[in-house]
């Protein structure tokens, strides 16, 4: 990196300029269009089912940002979606379809909790010990998530096993094995529920700014920091260029000296590391112990939608996560205050993804309606 600030600045400007070319507007347009259209369809379904769509729309808003509680809840989901979304984006960008973020976050989460529980007896109580354990837990999660994702990476790179299928299978396997362990060997005798031991006092992220015990602004900060690191890494480093180029055109990347197999494994590992972090944040910030993973939200799957909505751009993942966080958050409110079956929200999310997959549709629509000018 150049240490002349002027040059650095100039270079950054150029990067920004390239990122923000017309196609970025187009992508934003597509994202907004997809979401809008999907919500519209959702509202039509609500109306067709005999409920008041306006009321439903209002409840979506109130349930996500209508009160401090709702807003904190939205941010809590957003934090998880950002991390999981970045995990997906890293892989998709590099042309590797990691559908296994859910399994990797489960493995990361349990590794986090176990490492903390194992080490806790050797660490002094108190804030310093707690912080140390927290760091250990995050580290363990990153390592475990990375390793668990490296496996399908290796299978793809060296054995040609389709990663879409293997990662889906590994999701089932992670959830099954961890579920079995949490219900059996890892379950303390006095536990009423299916869970591990509680994390020791002092482990966790302090509740600053918001009083919600299950949300810490530090968690959100961590997620945003990961976004920053990944975004810079992708655009400003050789490794990032190798990865992204492999995603665009593997043959050209290979010819330019990129080792395709190693890149696939590295990509999966990196993606899994971030996914592992999701599990750690879930365990440390929200749960305080680990539960049967079949009871954990499907952040890893929803993250696919998040990432796609963001066109697999790590920075774009942030607004997309806010949207998904809000939708997820409003689910609770809708449940309580509306008769509309809450599964509708999952369906709407699916439609968003479907539309995001078909940018051409929106180009066509834009052309028909004369919006968005002459693109393409």
């Amino acid at each position: 990196m150049s240490d002349d600030p002027g040059r650095t600045r100039e270079a950054l400007d150029r990067v920004a300029a390239r990122l923000l070319d017309a196609s970025v507007y187009e992508r934003v347009g597509i994202a907004v269009g997809s979401t809008g259209l999907a919500l519209l369809i959702g509202l039509v379904v609500v109306a067709a089912a005999g409920h008041n769509p306006l009321l439903f729309a209002q409840q979506l808003v109130v349930g996500s940002v209508g009160s401090t509680g709702a807003f904190t809840r939205t941010l809590r989901f957003t934090t998880l979606f950002i991390l999981a979304g970045v995990a997906v984006a890293v892989a998709f960008r590099a042309g590797v379809f990691n559908i296994g973020v859910q399994g990797q976050l489960v493995v990361g989460g349990i590794a986090c909790v176990l490492s903390i529980l194992w080490l806790a007896p050797f660490v002094p109580n108190g804030p310093v010990g707690g912080a140390g354990l927290t760091l250990v837990g995050l580290f363990a999660a990153v390592v475990a998530g990375g390793l668990y994702a490296a496996l399908p990476g290796v299978l793809k790179a060296y054995y040609g096993a389709n990663e879409i299928i293997t990662t889906i299978m590994l999701n089932f396997i992670a959830i099954g094995i961890v579920g079995w362990a949490v219900d059996g060997p890892l379950r303390p005798d006095d536990a009423r529920s299916v869970r591990t031991e509680y994390l020791p006092e002092g482990v966790g992220l302090p509740s600053l700014v918001f009083s919600d015990p299950n949300f810490s602004i530090l968690g959100l900060g961590l997620a945003l920091a990961v976004v920053g690191v990944v975004a810079v890494g992708m655009t400003r480093t050789s490794f990032g260029y190798d990865m992204v180029t492999s995603g665009y055109q593997a043959s050209a990347a290979t010819f330019s000296g990129v080792d395709p197999q190693r890149t696939i494994v590295a990509t999966m590992t990196l993606s899994g590391m971030v996914a592992g972090l999701v599990g750690a944040v879930f365990a440390i910030m929200i749960q305080g112990y680990f539960i049967d993973p079949s009871g954990i939200g499907t952040y890893g799957f929803d993250a696919i939608a998040v990432s796609l909505l963001a066109a697999n751009n790590p920075v774009g993942v942030v607004p997309a996560s806010l949207l998904f966080g809000a939708l997820e958050s409003s689910g609770s409110h809708v449940q309580i205050h509306s008769d509309v079956p809450v599964q509708l929200i999952d369906g709407i999310v699916g439609i968003v993804v479907l539309f995001v997959a078909a940018p051409e549709l929106f180009r066509m629509l834009a052309k028909r309606t004369g919006l968005g000018g002459e693109k393409r």
């Binding site: 509680g69 809840r73 579920g179 219900d183 059996g184 379950r187 009423r192 529920s193 299916v194 869970r195 299950n214 879930f282 929200i286 749960q287 112990y289 539960i291 049967d292 079949s294 009871g295 954990i296 939200g297 609770s332 409110h333 449940q335 309580i336 809450v342």
Partner: protein, 331 residues
């Protein structure tokens, strides 16, 4: 209590499902049924919250408590315990009802422990009794010469293992010589998998299969119909709830959850919380807390040995002569 939130006609109560969700025709629906009955009776409004992610249980409890408009919040399933242990303190003025567990020292919680082990024990007694009898109904029949019964579980987890173990102990209490075939479908939603488990057991000689698989249990009933054998229901009288299969449901091992939710709601409405506060039990010892009921198409058709054995088993249990290995939620 609750007079100040006068909106929307009558007072409000809420219920949060277990991770199996409503629509299981068993556990959750049974609890809901009692609540709705009470709601009719006392002009209440019931808010159903279906939450299938256990990780979100605590948050749902908080959402409802924070809202402040619910006179009673009912939670189905012991997985709610962790969250409630905290929230019963944070919201001391909120009345809570927990099904399947109780919170020590929290007198705003009415904690109902349902003795699943006792219920399973009775199911075992019934199955072992009936397999040796000659029963014919529509196309189905038992094979009285062979004494084999089946157990078909949903997920292979500690909770259901306790059902299995207690069922076997019930069978053995009647007759050591009765074989019990067991199997798990691996899911509470995959009825086809449970169908396969039950059919495999019917093939291997079982003439009665009892399921503990929530919604997927329908697969066991369908299997009984296809194989001209019998099945038994769980939690509530499933010959009523699942009347499509009434012709093969000999009976159901039940727990009076609906009674319990009704009773607690009534206590709230009549300002008599103390009567339900703290640990409550749904057990054989309580009047009709745990029981075995004959299926609606089989009333009066089953041999007297069934009622005799069930009554005898209950008495033996109350007298402390039966020692079950497993507790209500695990071994």
């Amino acid at each position: 209590l609750g007079d100040e939130n006068g909106g929307g006609g009558g007072d409000q109560v809420a219920i949060i499902s277990s991770d199996a969700g409503f629509g299981d025709n068993a556990f959750n629906d049974n609890a809901l049924e009692g609540l709705e009955e009470a709601a009719d009776e006392f002009d209440l409004e019931v808010t159903q919250v279906e939450e299938t992610e256990t990780a979100e249980f605590a948050a749902r409890q908080e959402d409802l408590a924070e809202d402040g408009s619910y006179d009673l919040i009912v939670m189905v399933g012991y997985q709610h315990y962790e969250g409630l242990a905290e929230h019963s303190e944070t919201y001391p003025d909120q009345y809570w009802m927990l099904i399947n567990d109780h919170v020590e020292g929290a007198d705003n919680v009415s904690g109902w422990i349902e003795m699943n082990n006792e219920m399973s024990f009775l199911a075992g007694v019934a199955a072992a009794t009936l397999t040796q009898e000659e029963i014919e109904h529509d196309d189905s029949a038992t094979d009285p010469d062979e004494a084999v019964v089946g157990f078909a579980g949903g997920e292979d987890i500690d909770l259901i293992n306790a059902f299995e173990e207690s069922y076997i102990e019930g069978v053995e209490w009647v007759d050591d010589g009765v074989d019990v075939l067991t199997g798990y479908g691996g899911s509470f939603s995959d009825s086809e998998a449970l169908n396969d488990v039950a059919t495999s057991q019917f093939d291997d000689g079982a003439d009665i299969v009892w399921h503990a698989a929530a919604a997927a249990g329908a697969g066991a009933f369908a299997a009984a119909q296809d194989n001209d054998r019998f099945a038994m229901g769980v939690d509530s009288d499933q010959s009523v709830a699942d009347d499509q299969y009434a012709d093969v449901i000999l009976g159901s091992a039940i727990k009076a959850l609906d009674e319990a939710t009704y009773q607690v709601t009534e206590a709230v409405v009549e300002d008599d919380w103390d009567s339900v506060s703290g640990e409550q039990n749904l057990s054989i010892e309580e009047e009709e807390g745990i029981d075995f009921v004959v299926g609606q198409e089989f009333e009066g058709e089953l041999p007297d040995s069934l009622e005799e054995n069930i009554e005898e088993a209950k008495e033996a249990y109350v007298a402390g002569e039966v020692d079950l290995t497993c507790g209500p939620t695990g071994c």
